[in-house]
Each structure stands twice: as structure tokens, then as C-alpha cells.
Symmetry: C2
Subunit: 154 residues, 2 copies
DNA sequence: CAAATTTCAGCTTAACTGACATCC
DNA sequence: CGGATGTCAGTTTAGCTGAAATTT
């Protein structure tokens, strides 16, 4: 990750106009991804793959199609992502006996271990991110994010 | 854009755990990008390119290096992006006479026109996104987003 | 010479579309 | 058969690294 670019980013542009909400959301997501990549790179995975593992941690046993619908991407993209995780032994894919079209994706013990190994650093990242806010403000912030997401149909 | 995936996304996963802030931010960004792509696709550009144009609208006359530092990406990536916009006649690149290393990027009249053409639809998207919030809550939300972004060095 | 900016060449990842097989 | 799910093949876009040219 280019630390130089990150740290000097906010100094380059100071203007009179207020950036749009849409733009600030994008910038924040970029910053989060960059830091998350730093954390999980040691485990040989990307921020995207790590996020997929956390989704499975909360909702184990989803099918590929369910994962795709949850992620604004095509089933093919999810299949690629999951195939990579399977190749690294972090998830398993099993046919659903009740509906043999479906492939049920679940975390393996190494997958769970990876999550616990990095849980602390990820929590610290979230704490750093919200260090300028009170706990109440964080709670309100989360609700607002959720409200926006729901309003856009996500 | 896959409207089916978008609209059914939130129904696929309902669990006991609360998703992390980092994850919700990512989901919201994906939703915004998807809708923004729908709006600007008619103009033959991507959400990313549109966002770059809005940055130039607010801060005209930035160099490639300044744009890169502002965007968490490498100068090479920005150069590609700007080259595409230039090919479509939406921006110009001119050597800075004071510092002949620098290429100053600025909007062309067609670039400005593209922004005004879509300004209403983009504002409507932002209004839809925040339709569940009061104006005060939107203001607080913006401040929180900014606080998080600054805390991560963006 | 050192640092900053841009450029050139090649590469990788993460998405996409289209076509298809399988299952309910 | 129709709809859902997953897979295979090919493509595109958006990022990256490394190396080099130019200017200050």
C-alpha cells in the first residue's frame, strides 16, 4: 500500500465547494479498504476476501446465489471469489442434499482461525476510524449508514 | 446493472450478528456506485469517471499527481483515467508553464455540460439515499463520514 | 545529484457477458 | 417446460509494479 499517497491525500485538494455525500462515501470506503488490506495481507488474502469470510462467519451455510444477491455482484464473480477461498482451505462447498442445485458455503476451521487471528486488528481499525466520535455518535452513524443502504435497495 | 440482485439483496441474509461498520460502509458504496452507473451510463462513462469529473468541477486545474494523492491511487492509474476522459473530449491536459513537469487537468465545455446534464439525477439519488433521515441527521451523517475519513488519513 | 512528475510496458484482480448443464 | 443455480469461456476495467524520461 502506498502510505505516501494515503497520508498526503487530504492536503492536495482544498476548495470552496463541499464534496457530495456520494463522493465522501466513496473516499471513506477507499480508505477502509486500504487499511484493511494492510491488516490481512499477511494472511495472503485481500480485504474483499476477508469481508466475505466475515459474512460467512455471521451467516454460515449460504449458497453462492444467496451470497451474490447479498453483495451486488453476479453469481459468477462470487463463484470466483469462493473458489479462491476454497483453494486456500478457508471455506468448503457442499451440495445441499435438500436441493442439489445449491452449493452451501461454510467456513473451515482454518477460515475461522484466520478471522480470530485478525479480529483484534480489525476492531482496532474500526476504533481508529471512529476515534473522533462519541459512542452515541457511532451508534447514530451506524443507523444512518443502514438507513442509506436500505433506501438504495441494498 | 442487475436490478434483480440489487432489490433482493437485503432479503437473502438475516442473522443474529450485527455487521461491522466497515462492512456496512462497503455495502453502501457498492449500492451508490451501482445506481450512479445507471445514471451516467447513458453518457458513455462510468461512475468512477463521473466522480473524477466532479472533483475537477470543484478543483479545476489539478495536476495528475495531485489528483492521485487525493484518490488513494497511483499516478499511473489516474493517468489512465484522465487519458480516457481526454479521449472523450471531457477534459484537457496542459503543461503548467511555471513547472513544466506538471500536467494541468481541466474540464472542457463538453465536460461541464455533461455534469450539468446529470446534476439533477445525481442530486435525486442523494435525496433518495437520505430519504429516511431528517436534514439535521444528514448534516450529522456528513460530519461523521468526514471524521472517519480524516481519522484514517484520507 | 535528488526529488517530483509523467510516461511506457506489462501484469493481476475483480468484475462483467454469454452460453450451457443440472436440478426442482 | 420454466425458473433457479452453478459452471465454463472469454472479455474488460481498474488497479498495480517496475523502469525510464524530464524538469526543478
Amino acid at each position: 500500500v502506498d502510505v505516501t499517497a494515503r497520508s498526503s491525500g487530504s492536503t492536495a485538494v482544498r476548495g470552496s465547494h463541499r464534496p457530495s455525500l456520494l463522493y465522501v462515501i466513496k473516499q471513506l470506503e477507499l480508505a477502509v479498504r486500504s487499511h484493511l488490506d494492510d491488516i490481512v495481507a499477511a494472511a495472503g488474502i485481500t480485504a474483499l476476501q476477508y469481508t466475505a469470510l466475515t459474512v460467512l462467519d455471521h451467516h454460515d451455510g449460504l449458497s453462492l446465489a444467496q451470497l451474490a444477491r447479498n453483495s451486488f455482484v453476479t453469481p459468477q464473480s462470487v463463484a470466483d471469489l469462493v473458489a479462491n477461498l476454497e483453494r486456500n482451505g478457508l471455506v468448503r462447498r457442499d451440495r445441499n442434499p435438500q436441493n442439489r442445485r445449491e452449493l452451501i458455503v461454510s467456513l473451515t476451521p482454518p477460515g475461522r482461525k484466520l478471522l480470530t487471528t485478525h479480529a483484534h486488528a480489525v476492531a482496532a481499525l474500526e476504533a481508529t476510524m471512529t476515534s473522533g466520535l462519541t459512542p452515541e455518535q457511532v451508534s447514530v452513524f451506524r443507523n444512518s449508514l443502514d438507513s442509506c443502504r436500505v433506501a438504495l435497495g441494498g
